[in-house]
Amino acid sequence: MSTTASAPATPPAQHDEGRSFIDTVVRAREVSLIGVLALLVLGVSIAEPRFLNAQNLRDILLNVTIVALLAVGQTIVVVTRNIDLSVGSILGITAFATGVMFADHNLPIGVVFVGGILFGAFFGAINGAMVAFAKVPSLVITLGTLYVIRGIDYAWAHGRQINAADMPDSFLDLGTAQVAGFPVLPLITVAVMILVGTVLGRARMGRELYAIGSNPDAANLAGIRVTRRVLGAFVASGAIAGLAGVLYAARFGTLDAAAGNGIELAAVSAVVVGGVAIFGGSGTVYGAALGALLLATIRSSLVNLQVNPFWEQAINGTLLLAAIALDRLLALRMARELRRRASHRV
C-alpha cells in the first residue's frame, strides 16, 4: 500500500510517455505503408516511365476505389475482433439491385444511393444480430451469409444481365467524371474513409469498438454495450458494402449476379496489410485504405512492367503473410514495453 503515496505523482508523466509510444507504433504502420508505396512507385517509374502518367494513376485510383471502400468497412468489424466475409455477396446483390432500381423502376439517383446503402445495412444487421446475440463466431456466420446472399442474388437475377444502356448516363458518368482532374469515385471513398476514421478515432462509440476488440470481457465489465456496438459495426460494414455495390454499378455498367465474387479476400488482405490486427483492438481505416492502395499499385506495376500477371495473387498472399508476421512482432514488442513500464511504476 506504500505505493499509493507515490502513485499520484508519477502516473501522469508515464501515462503520457506510454501513450505516445503506442501512438508512434500505430502511426509507424501508416508511415511505413506510405514509404513502401513511394518506393514502389519510384522503382517502377524508373523501370517503366510510362507508369507515372496521369491516366495510369487515375486508373489505379479507380481500381482501388471499391476494394478500399470495402476495406474501410471491414476495418470497423475487424477492430472488434470479428470478420465480415459476406461483403462480396452484399456488394453483388446491391449492385444488381442498383441495376434493377434504374432499369425496372426508373428511380432517381439519390434514391438509388440511399436504397443501396439501406439494402446493405439490412444484410449487415442480419449478420450483426447473429454474431452479437447468438454469440457465434463471425467467421462462421459470415461464411454462411456469404453463401446465402450470393444464392439469393443468383436466384433473383436468374441469369439476367443488366447493361449500361439500362442505366441513366448521369449515373454512369460518375464512373468517369472528374473533379479538378481527380476522378469522382475515389473521392467518395476518401470521404467515407475520413468520416469513419474520425468516428473510430475520436468518438466514444469508436473507442468502444477498439476496447471490445482488445478485450471483450473487460469491455463488457467496463459497461460498454458490447452487443449494441458489435451489431452497429456489422450494420456499418453492410451499409458500406451496399454503397460499394452502387459504385460498382456506376463503374462497370454491366451487372450480373457474379459481381464482387471473391472480393472479400482482397478486402481482408488490404485490411491486414494496412495494419489492422486480425485479433482486433488496433489499426485504422487510413492504414486499411493504404493497404488497398498498395495492393492495387502492385497489380498495376505488374501490368506495366509486363510481368506475368499471374504473379499477382501469389504476391498478395505473401504480403498478407508478411504483414501478419510483422504485426505479431510489433504486438510482442509492445507487450514487452508495456510490461516494462508497468514494472517501473512499482
Binding site: 470478420i83 447473429m130 447468438a134 454469440k135 457465434v136 463466431p137 467467421l139 462462421v140 456466420i141 461464411l143 454462411g144 451469409t145 456469404l146 453463401y147 446465402v148 446472399i149 450470393r150 444464392g151 439469393i152 442474388d153 443468383y154 436466384a155 449476379a257 471473391g262 479476400l265 481482408v268 488482405s269 491486414v272 486480425i278 485479433f279 506475368n308 499471374f310 504473379w311 499477382e312 495473387q313 501469389a314 504476391i315 498478395n316 498472399g317 505473401t318 498478407l320 503473410l321 501478419i324 508476421a325 505479431r328
Partner: protein, 332 residues
C-alpha cells in the same frame, strides 16, 4: 463430459434426421433417385469435399482452421499438369505432388506453431499464395491428355458395384482418421488442446508438435484430393476447386464439430457429407437451380452453429427460471 456428449449427440441426431429427410425428398420426387447410377453421382460429387473434411475435422477440433485446402488442390492440379507436360511419368508425379502438398501444409504449420500467428489469417494468406503459385505454374491453360488408365480410375467404379473408386479412398481414410481421433492418445490430445490449449500444454500434451503435423497431414490429404479431382475431371487447371474450402468447412461444422474446438465426432461429419451430397443431388434431379443449392448450403451452415447456441441459451434461461421458482418456494 457426458453433458457435452448429449449436446453433441443432439446435433448429430438433427443431421441424421436431415439426411433421412433429404433421402425421402429425393425418392418421393423422382424415381431415378434410388438407383445405383444416382448413388454413384452423389458419392462422386462430394468425394473431394469428403476426403478433405477428414483432416480438417481434426484441425477444427484442435481449435485451428485451414482455409488454404482448396488452393492446395488447385496447386496440386497445376503441378500435375506442369510435370506431365515436362515428361514426368505419372507414377513419379503422384508422390511428388503429395509431398508438395505436405510442404504446403508444413508452411502453414510453421507459421502457426513457430511464429504463433493466428491460423485464420495465415491460411487466408496461403490460400492466396498457393492459388497464385498454381496460376504462375500453369497460367490459365488446361492439361487434359492424361493416360486413360488414370482417368478411367478417376471416374470408374469399384469391383462391379456403383461405388466410385475415389470413394473407396475416402472410406479407407475415414476409418484411419476415425480411429486416430476417437481411439488413440493423439486423438484425446487433440480434443484436449482444442478445449483448453494451456491446460493441455501443462498436462504434457505436445501441442505445437501435434498441430504442426495436423497441418502437414491436411496439406498432404488436400494434395491427394487434388490428384483425384484432376483424374475425375481428366483436366488439370490452376482454377480447379476454387471456393471448395467453404464447402469443406460447412460440412465439418454441419457435422457437429464446434468451431471453438474440443468437441465433435467424425461420424457426424461423415453424416453431414452424405447430407450435402444427397441434398445437392435431390435438388439437381428436381431441376432446382444451383443457386437455391447455395442458399441451402449456407442456411444449413448457419443452422448448424445457431442451433446449438440458441438451444444452450434456452436451456440457460430455463434453468434460471427454474431456480428462481425454486428459490421463491424456499423463501415462502
Amino acid at each position: 463430459m457426458s453433458d457435452l456428449k448429449t449436446r453433441l449427440a443432439r446435433w448429430e441426431t438433427v443431421t441424421v434426421f436431415l439426411l433421412i429427410g433429404a433421402i425421402i425428398y429425393g425418392t418421393s420426387t423422382s424415381e431415378d433417385f434410388f438407383t445405383g447410377g444416382n448413388l454413384n453421382s452423389i458419392l462422386s460429387d462430394i468425394v473431394e469435399i469428403a476426403i478433405i473434411a477428414l483432416p480438417l475435422t481434426l484441425i477444427i477440433v484442435a481449435a485451428e482452421i485451414d482455409l488454404s485446402v482448396a488452393s492446395v488442390v488447385g496447386l496440386t492440379s497445376a503441378l500435375i499438369g506442369y510435370l506431365w507436360n515436362h515428361g514426368w511419368a505419372m507414377e513419379m508425379i503422384i508422390p511428388a505432388v503429395i509431398v508438395a502438398g505436405a510442404v504446403a501444409g508444413a508452411i502453414n504449420g510453421v507459421l502457426v506453431t513457430r511464429l504463433g500467428l493466428p491460423s485464420l489469417a495465415v491460411t487466408i494468406g496461403t490460400l492466396g499464395l498457393y492459388r497464385g503459385l498454381a496460376y504462375v505454374i500453369l497460367g490459365d491453360t488446361a492439361v487434359a491428355d492424361f493416360p486413360s488408365q488414370f482417368t478411367d480410375w478417376g471416374f470408374g467404379t469399384f469391383a462391379g458395384t456403383q461405388i466410385p473408386n475415389p470413394f473407396i479412398v475416402f472410406v479407407v481414410l475415414a476409418v484411419v482418421f476415425g480411429i486416430v481421433l476417437h481411439r488413440t492418445g493423439i486423438g484425446r490430445s487433440i480434443f484436449a488442446m482444442g478445449a483448453n490449449e494451456e491446460a493441455a500444454h501443462f498436462s504434457g500434451v505436445r501441442v505445437k508438435r501435434i498441430k504442426f503435423w495436423l497441418f502437414v497431414v491436411t496439406g498432404a490429404v488436400a494434395a491427394l484430393a487434388g490428384v483425384i479431382y484432376t483424374f475425375r475431371f481428366a483436366s488439370a487447371r490452376a482454377d480447379n476447386a476454387v471456393g471448395l474450402e467453404l464447402s469443406v468447412v460447412a460440412v465439418v461444422l454441419l457435422g457437429g464439430v464446434s468451431i471453438f474446438g474440443g468437441r465433435g465426432h467424425l461420424l457426424g461429419v461423415i453424416c453431414a457429407v452424405l447430407l450435402l451430397g444427397t441434398l445437392r443431388n435431390a435438388l439437381t434431379i428436381n431441376d432446382v437451380s444451383a443457386e437455391v443449392l447455395t442458399i441451402v448450403t449456407g442456411s444449413l451452415l448457419l443452422l448448424s452453429v445457431l442451433g446449438p447456441s440458441v438451444a444452450a441459451r434456452i436451456r440457460g434461461a430455463l434453468r434460471t427460471t427454474k431456480s428462481r421458482e425454486e428459490g421463491n418456494v424456499q423463501v415462502q
